[in-house]
Symmetry: D2
């Protein structure tokens, strides 16, 4: 099977490598073309532009760094849109919001001027958004969780590739649902991080060892990889940003906004969100989201208010 | 090794059985003496009263249903206190509050009348509180988590027995710390249950399948046994009380009170506690604590306000 | 002094009447022209279109029902924009969001197509936004509070008219600040309404008369017109929508969003917002915002979840 | 009319003075007897002990500093209890909790030893608790608000005196209700102080003048004496303790506990309470309760966590 692959950052490189190892023929493109060489050594071909990759391959996967990059690769000169069409599929696995996915998927209309921009579907192409859960290590190990939505036929055709990239893929329905599912998961994760922080702090202040609390938690009904991984680092005040606090807070804000649209009252998430905001106001936004523990403890980062 | 065992309810029976199976000689007592027969069939001896058990055994373990029963067995006529003394150890594994453990451990003074009641330590005995985490199944499998505190020497002597009863025991320091550790764990658990409920509800209202959310959660960094066990039941509106909501709310209230004593601000736990209170006010207190999901959904039990 | 007046709803009619009574020459326009007759009886002249009013008057005040009406009157055919220009001032006193005021004030650009729309300032006109606090009665009595922002020179010229319409006007700086000030005030008001509801409910449940609580409150340091006005109606379950709950919740959401932009953690407002959301989810959105009391009591509107 | 008056602190002195000025014959007692001289100059008689005052007067009012003083004056040697009896009334206007009032009113039983202490009612006396709302100035001006409960006949007999001391008195039913009413009022007050703090902080961070916000608030539906009095001081960082933050937080805790007993969910008060706790943890407990503004701003007192 031949696939195109756009974007060879940490995630994209690992994913393209896995496809090559499982016998896929892969045509890669990256904004900095030099980054393609490592993949060429593993058997990849290089495409000069996103358009060239799409022209060559029936299926093209993208793994870009953010919504802006995801839009550029499609709409800019020599972009995906120039070659997408009947019988071709485009699969964006970048982590983007629902609105970005919608723009890539469909034409959109701006203001009263009705400036129509054609997008993948108008050109006749099929589109699937497929953001993933998991970072570098799961990407390398083919253990991502894939949250796909959009064109069901294209999804079905991609399942073998998804099986190489991840341990499990879900088809979630209409475009935007992949992004929404990530928000819901991250919202729960954010509340749990606050709960853990409160528990560690309470233990400490009432004469129990926070490390022992972690040990007890790890043996019980609420044991989970996040507590196990982050807990000990938090006790050491170590917050290397695997997932920056400002992004976690943004996701909680967006999840709460989704709740607002749908009239879902979520007081626990709202309380957690305000603590993350306090953390941001104290200058902790670029640390790992577990740095919310510093706010619960009452210390306060760089202290500016 | 010879041990006494007071209390043969669901938990106690399973625990005493495990001790017998591992070669301990066990003298059992239960308020309803008939319940002892099953254990006798496995090799146990019967003690007529708590005092008789203590007289015979160097170590006596108790597993009673609540604080009131835990106090009765010690202070009532023919109780533990009548025979406890130098060289004897008493280990209460019941789930009780810190105040109850303190009463059993030490003399206490009531009012200005200075009415002194002698307790285990005044009599010369050693005392360990050792509440457990885990219910019927872990008790049968010897997979409890034991949260011990009090007399360190007695704890050390009991470790072989604890190894039979549980997968891990912790020594947490002074009397009361076992109870406090349980409160902290349950507080985190209560917030997490609220977070899960909010996530399930948000998923449902914004067009995602709550069951798929459970599946996605189970593959990620916050996967945990509680979500896996309770989640599907919640989606079916099934709330068999493994841990009644009113007890969960009581534990959150006590944990928040502990936070108040120690000036620990815990807004997420406080928000979760208010939702559990709302659940209680709607008549859901006797259901499993996962019934808080009904409040988040907006339905409302029997509806009386 | 000659002023134009666009919009003769409940508020606009009362305000234009006050201007006439204080000797202003007023040229009125209303979408339903028939509504102008009452004002003509008091000495007003009628303008055929917004453009005609602006052509005739140096200053034109608008009091429209919502953002959409406020935009139409400016940008549609025969709108304000056709005649606004050097030496003319436009004062929009409608309650609109900051974004709407900005659109009326300045050109704006949509998307990459750079479709530029000219607005009041590009045409050479001066613009002041001036939303008011207060409803029908204060409008009739000239007792509004006016929250003005934008062109300071125009504001200064309008002060005599503002003195007729209100008991006090404030100049708050750049466009958008009037809307922001309203949001902050309404946010505080929303939290206070929740506080009152919780207090009334607690009083009732613990054996105190809620009516007596209102009486006690009215004699103390937190006595305020809202408690005095709404409290007794709430106890009777009467929620005639002076300010609909769904609008209050929208304002709280926007105020929280403003807090998010500026990294201000506001846990009390966030908690109050979630209760208003719960009220919306229970079908209470069209009642007065004091209907949040029903949620606190635990009853639940029409009960759909 | 002859009344006894126990306790001549700031409040008591002002109140006894008012009674004298309105023609009451007053027999005063104070722990530091020297403090009585000022009242003697106004016509008061001095009693040597609380018992002596009660022996002489049909009605005795007490205004003590705290629960401990309130209990001492009754139960200690030469205390009220020695002379109280049929036909005599005791009115405690100190601010105490419901439990303290109950102890003064009725016998109570401690522990299993059933140590019975006789109190006012057992001796045949009548008892009214009557805590007040208002501090020094209202006490001097006879403008207190009196929250009475207990013996209705005694209350009715005291109304003329209450009319001298306060602008309004309420009879609230059974003993404890006066204390509960104060808790409910203070809970609402605490939430409102948080709301104001959040609003001031949001205004400041989004480019509005906090002082202008205070001015706008003071003209609207939520204008109240507390905002007017405390607001400007808060903007100057001035927190002279009219009502210490730690007492406000204690009252919120007790109000929430009352809500817990009665299954009243109060998320806004709970959120406010956690912010007050954070303030306590930052060393602000002895400042005025308006110092919670410092926590909302993100500064943090002496910074110890």
């Amino acid at each position: 099977m031949e696939v195109g692959f756009l974007g060879l950052g940490i995630m994209g490189k690992a994913m393209a490598t896995n496809l090559l190892r499982h016998g896929y023929r892969v045509t890669v493109w990256n904004r900095t073309i030099a980054k393609c060489q490592e993949l060429v050594a593993l058997g990849a071909t290089v495409g000069e532009t996103p358009a060239a990759v799409v022209a060559k391959c029936r299926y093209t996967i993208a793994m870009l760094s953010d919504p802006s990059a995801a839009l550029s690769v499609v709409f800019d000169k020599d972009g995906v849109l120039e070659q997408i069409g009947d019988g071709k599929g485009y699969i964006d696995m970048s982590t983007v919001d629902a609105a970005t996915s919608s723009k890539i998927s469909e034409s959109y209309v701006m203001g009263k001027g009705r400036m129509i921009v054609e997008a993948v579907k108008q050109k006749g192409g099929a589109f699937v958004e497929a953001p993933v859960s998991g970072s570098k290590k799961p990407a390398e190990d083919g253990q991502l969780v894939i949250l796909a939505a959009g064109d069901k036929t294209l999804y079905d055709e991609m399942v073998p590739a998804f099986d190489v990239l991840g341990k499990k893929s879900f088809f979630l329905g209409e475009i935007g649902n992949g992004a929404k599912m990530k928000l819901v998961v991250n919202m729960i994760m954010g509340s749990m991080m606050n709960s853990l922080s409160e528990g560690l702090c309470l233990a400490d202040k009432c004469g129990l060892s926070p490390q022992t609390l972690l040990d007890v938690l790890d043996l019980g009904a609420i044991a989970n990889p996040m507590f196990k991984l982050k807990g000990p680092a938090m006790l050491q005040g170590s917050y290397n940003p695997a997932f920056p606090l400002k992004h976690q807070q943004k996701d909680m804000r967006l999840a709460l906004a989704l709740g607002d649209e749908n009239a879902v009252s979520m007081p626990v998430s709202a309380a957690a969100n305000e603590v993350f905001k306090k953390a941001r106001s104290l200058g902790l936004g670029d640390l790992d989201f577990s740095a919310v523990y510093e706010v619960v403890k009452g210390a306060g980062g760089s202290g500016q208010a």
